[in-house]
Symmetry: C2
Subunit: 352 residues, 2 copies
Amino acid sequence: MTKKSGDDGRSTIRDVAARAGVSASTVSRVLGGDYPVSAATRTRVLRAVREMDYVADARAKAVAGVGTPTLAFVLEDITGPSFAHMAYGVEREAARLGHLSLVCSTDGDVRRELEFIGMMRAQRAAAVILVGGAADTPEYRERTRRVADSLASAGSRLVLCGRPPLGPGAPVTVIEYDNEGGAYALVAHVLAQGHRRVLFLGGKPDHTTAMGRERGYLAAHRARGLEPDPELLLHGDFTRDSGHRLMRQALARGPEFSAVVAATDMVAAGALTALHEAGLAVPGDVSLAGYDDIPFARDLHPALTTVHVPYEELGRLAVRTALGHGGESAGEHLLLGTHVVVRDSVAAYGGH
Amino acid sequence: MTKKSGDDGRSTIRDVAARAGVSASTVSRVLGGDYPVSAATRTRVLRAVREMDYVADARAKAVAGVGTPTLAFVLEDITGPSFAHMAYGVEREAARLGHLSLVCSTDGDVRRELEFIGMMRAQRAAAVILVGGAADTPEYRERTRRVADSLASAGSRLVLCGRPPLGPGAPVTVIEYDNEGGAYALVAHVLAQGHRRVLFLGGKPDHTTAMGRERGYLAAHRARGLEPDPELLLHGDFTRDSGHRLMRQALARGPEFSAVVAATDMVAAGALTALHEAGLAVPGDVSLAGYDDIPFARDLHPALTTVHVPYEELGRLAVRTALGHGGESAGEHLLLGTHVVVRDSVAAYGGH
């Protein structure tokens, strides 16, 4: 058995140094991380740390990555229920695979996102998962590419979950779900009920998730040889309050419509209340559909017809892929399917 | 101006050492954190780091606490909308005060909570905020007391937000809201409408938040000289599915009731759907009330009568108090008020 010279029978930094064939100050440098050390030396020291079961100060452990393995998860809005369910999937799968997951909600602030990623790189997080749409600009691609390279150089992996991909060659895993396909199927269902003026309560015009859903709305019309009135396309954000506000505006000023497709279930919830406040029956007077299938979509009255997105499974898959436990290659671009859930909020046009 | 000898005009570790009057290896030790260094030396080195605007490797910066100051926030269930709004308040206020906030959702696993707290201690987080009820056992108090002491020794502060307090002398800030008072006012409102058999869809029987709400239910009855039938008290958890399940059970097997008070709005949402599925009108046949006033409570149909809890403000207050920016003393025990929001889901008994 290897001799352990600490008073309490535990290994000391000198034991580790002897084992690794380096000086105690080199061990300190590796664990401290603030001096350059060759990769070979670093590997030798960390192996000795493990073999000697050396427990340094918790700070040094965390820095050296010999503490609890972690995963990082970045989202824009912690109050959005769809992201919360994805975060739940990440957390459960990370726990199952022995990792702790840390969440940072950035409220859309790029600077805070970069600070958090830097901290997670320093923690040697196994993966950093960025969630939710973004504006797909050259600046976005360049910045995200730098983040991906920086994480890769620290042995960590960047996962983009619903964010725009970076193009070939970037060390990144991309997991998306089919925003456009889901919206296409949903709007085709509404048009098949005979509706011809379908109001669309969309998201921000440069946001990739919002744009995918809007493209699906347009494509479903064009597949039937229809060209929707541009006045039917409204833009806001993905919150309940945005849906309430846009719906009140549309009711006050027009345009005319017989059905409403909301970009998210939260938007639909706000729109539903605005319709009720105006004395309109859903679906008797106006049909309404949402997107996301968050749990309370079925507790709205009428229960909401919507598009099911497997958010929890997306979170689980992101973790499995990033940690190489899924059978999927980390370099793959995965696209998950969505499907329409028909409930009670869409009726045939003029059919009441 | 102090000379900066780096190639790019930035300070090097040698500049910092010269300024602090110590060796470069002592600077490294302070920043690395894995060797004992006297408090005076540590203070001198960190002052020199600040004065020289020395940017070490991000790892060393984080370890030394000279990177972005952070706050940590621990919750049990990231899919619970009330906690999400508290997390949002924490994040916004932390950002306003220049701190990054990290969230860890533990799914109730004490081991993961302790791992995360250890990591945040190592990061020198300014405060660790634990959120949500817990079973108030001697083991809980002892463990949490140890955590508070350990964080205090690292210059960090433990904040308990809705968690049971630890008794006198613990280095901890306690922020609560009045679970019992809110439930008392809500149930008094229901009883004042003439209801005498009020079903209570409660939480876990050993959970302090659930127990506070249950105590308020009982106290409101007793204040009117009533003793509720014990069969009217059901226990589950705080989710939509629990409300749906308990309501179906109660409808199938009894007991009889004319009103339902749910322990959370999510529980009320599930109960509402079960009532609708059974062909019952709310509030025509059965009155229903929730607790929390989460945003979509007003999008349920009928809009839900509930208790408003200032979750976002709780989160903001926790941050201000922990960082000493609120005028409140960190040692104080703060209790925020709640109030009833009367909407459309409670009607007079027999009044339809």
